[in-house]
């Protein structure tokens, strides 16, 4: 039994904006299947009385006080931008795919 189908891998690739060839899809679908089946083994040993965890350390309620502090200098922000115009990040046109 497979843990993930080729169609699901294709769908995920599209969501991740990855363009895969047919050969690559076959290749990765097989690899991902092995990984998922390996991980699935954990559920074989997880008993009913063991709650699933989403975090490795058992802490909760970590908060900070609502105090504002200055952020980065704008020149530093701009320095990290691939493209910059009018004090803003410049990004390619959106909605092209619709």
């Amino acid at each position: 039994m497979t843990a993930i189908t080729r169609a699901e891998v294709e769908h995920l690739a599209r969501l991740a904006r990855l363009q895969l060839t047919d050969d690559e899809l076959d290749h990765y679908a097989g690899q991902l299947d092995v990984i998922l089946q390996s991980v699935a083994r954990v559920s074989e040993v997880a008993a009913e009385d063991i709650p699933p965890t989403s975090h490795p350390i058992p802490v909760q309620n970590v908060f900070r006080d609502d105090v504002a502090r200055p952020g980065l200098d704008r020149s530093a922000v701009a320095a990290g931008a691939p493209a910059w115009e009018d004090d803003r990040f410049r990004v390619p046109r959106i909605l092209d795919e619709e």
Partner: protein, 505 residues
């Protein structure tokens, strides 16, 4: 891009179909810092000056939850009669869009902080007020996105834009999302119920102090879900109209979507499940993304944040901080002021309630306070097409003006000029009175001098009055008013005139 959707007249649509509504409302909380980092949240700052590695999604940065954001959400949940989760988590909502530099938004998914509540709203009908209970599905925490400006192209809209510019100052500002359960049984009142609900939410948030809800700054945004079905049938397919950013638009969006779907269904068509965009200018919506294929957010528990588990003690402590809620307050004020349902509703609908209340709290007589805010100031707001609360005159200034009227320093007419001056930016009440020379001439000797002059100028009129023709006095009073540039009290001038001439009225 425009779509001329065929519509069915509203009355006809409602006669044929029953609407089911659902409202998702996003409100920015009024915290000083962002939800997951310490960047300031001031509105209107220069682009990208309130950002840091966390809200820019830089590698290695880690979010930390703002306690105030959690407390505000719990307080809002309590005010909406919700249960508060004993344990919940944040979740990543994954999507590629440049408004979030992380390529995901931190939100909550199947474990909202607050759930299963309700909010009662009242709408005015021809048969008097009618109450509806709107069931609340959930209230959850998330973060706002950055602001895109579409550049190039002919329209400045997203369609046809060559590229976009992004300001991340807004990215990471705490948002709460309030989701209703399906609202049924509203019939033709659906648009009014939707508007009343959002209005009540706004008032609730303001009274809790968790947000000042500046709608014109986009701090409250509504997504409106509408479906139609024929009586007795299952619910229809719903559309979701986004971009609904004013109370008036909520009402218009529901109405126009009912008219559109009714036309589709009655011509044998099928409503498709889609996201539509509302346009303030036309009051209509156009289709956006088709939901069936576009939405797959792959939510998973946020690994960079630990669970939120509010103790029952903390929740009860927060419950103790809830103020008198707007519905209870309205009932109390109506009783205290002793005014009719209709007059009270006029105050509420005109957005005058808080202003009148604040003016009375300043010590102004209730009737006078109501008169100012529903009269002259409402007229000014209406002329300028702004909210009453945005008229730049304060309850304290109204108190000052009212006091000057009561001690005879101003007439109603002069008071209106003072307000005009305040709005024109001529300063506070005293500045305008001094600057425009508006004080009533109440000095008897000055008035008597003007009266004497008028009598000399119009000897024939003076003779008539002495002869007992008191109705002739108007000409003299008019001359005095003119001489004092309207700044005398006409009744007083009249009394002084008769006294001067030894005539009784």
């Amino acid at each position: 891009m425009t779509t001329t959707a065929e519509t069915m007249p509203y009355a006809e649509a409602i006669a044929a179909f029953e609407p089911v509504l659902g409202l998702e409302t996003h409100v920015e909380l009024g915290t000083a810092s962002k939800m997951f980092c310490s960047c300031p949240t001031a509105f209107g700052a220069d682009p990208n000056t309130q950002v840091c590695p966390v809200c820019l999604g830089l590698p290695g940065s880690m979010p930390v939850v703002n306690r105030m954001g959690v407390e505000s959400t719990i307080r809002m949940g309590l005010a909406l009669n919700c249960s508060i989760a004993e344990w919940c988590r944040f979740a990543r909502k994954n999507y590629f869009y440049p408004d979030m530099p992380k390529d995901y938004q931190i939100s909550q998914y199947d474990e909202p902080l607050c759930f299963d509540g309700w909010l009662d709203v009242t709408v005015e009908t021809d048969d008097g007020p009618r109450a509806f209970r709107v069931e609340i599905e959930r209230v959850h925490m998330e973060e706002d996105t950055g602001k895109l400006t579409h550049a190039g192209g002919a329209t400045g809209r997203i369609h046809g834009a060559d590229y976009s510019l992004v300001d991340y100052n807004r990215a990471g500002i705490p948002l709460i999302e309030i989701v209703t359960k399906p609202i049924v049984g509203t019939g033709e009142l659906a648009p009014l119920v939707a508007r009343a609900y959002v209005t009540e939410l706004r008032d609730l948030m303001r009274s809790l102090g968790v947000s000042d809800v500046r709608m014109e700054e986009g701090s409250l945004r509504c997504d409106v879900n509408v479906s139609l079905n024929r009586a007795g049938d299952d619910w229809g397919t719903r559309s979701e109209t986004k971009n609904v950013n004013s109370l008036r638009s909520v009402e218009r969006a529901v109405r126009s979507e009912i008219e559109r779907q009714a036309a589709v269904l009655s011509s044998g068509g099928r409503v498709i499940q889609e996201t539509r965009h509302f346009h303030e200018d036309t009051g209509r919506s156009t289709p956006g993304r088709s939901k069936e294929q576009a939405e797959d957010y792959r939510y998973f528990p946020e690994p960079d944040l630990v669970p939120v588990a509010p103790s029952r003690e903390w929740v009860e402590e927060l419950r103790g901080t809830l103020p008198e809620l707007p519905s209870a307050k309205r009932a109390r004020l109506r009783a205290e002021w002793g005014i009719s349902d209709h007059d009270f509703q006029t105050l509420v609908n005109g957005g005058a309630l808080e202003l009148v209340e604040a003016t009375i709290a300043e010590g102004v007589d209730p009737a006078a306070a109501r008169k100012w805010w529903t009269g002259e100031l409402a007229r000014i707001a209406n002329d300028r097409e702004i909210e009453l609360a945005d008229v730049p005159v304060s309850p304290g200034q109204i108190k000052h003006i009212q006091r000057l009227i009561e001690d005879g320093s101003l007439t109603d007419k002069l008071a209106r000029q003072v307000i005009e001056g305040i709005i024109a930016g001529e300063g506070d009440v005293d500045d305008v009175v001094a600057g425009r020379g508006l004080a009533v001439v109440s000095d008897d000797s000055a008035l008597l001098a003007a009266i004497d002059q008028a009598l000399v100028d119009q000897p024939d009129v003076a003779e008539k009055i002495r002869g007992g023709k008191v109705q002739a006095a108007g000409a003299i009073v008019g001359a005095v008013m003119k001489a004092t540039r309207g700044q005398a009290d006409a009744a007083k001038v009249r009394a002084l005139l008769f006294e001067r001439l030894g005539v009784s009225e």
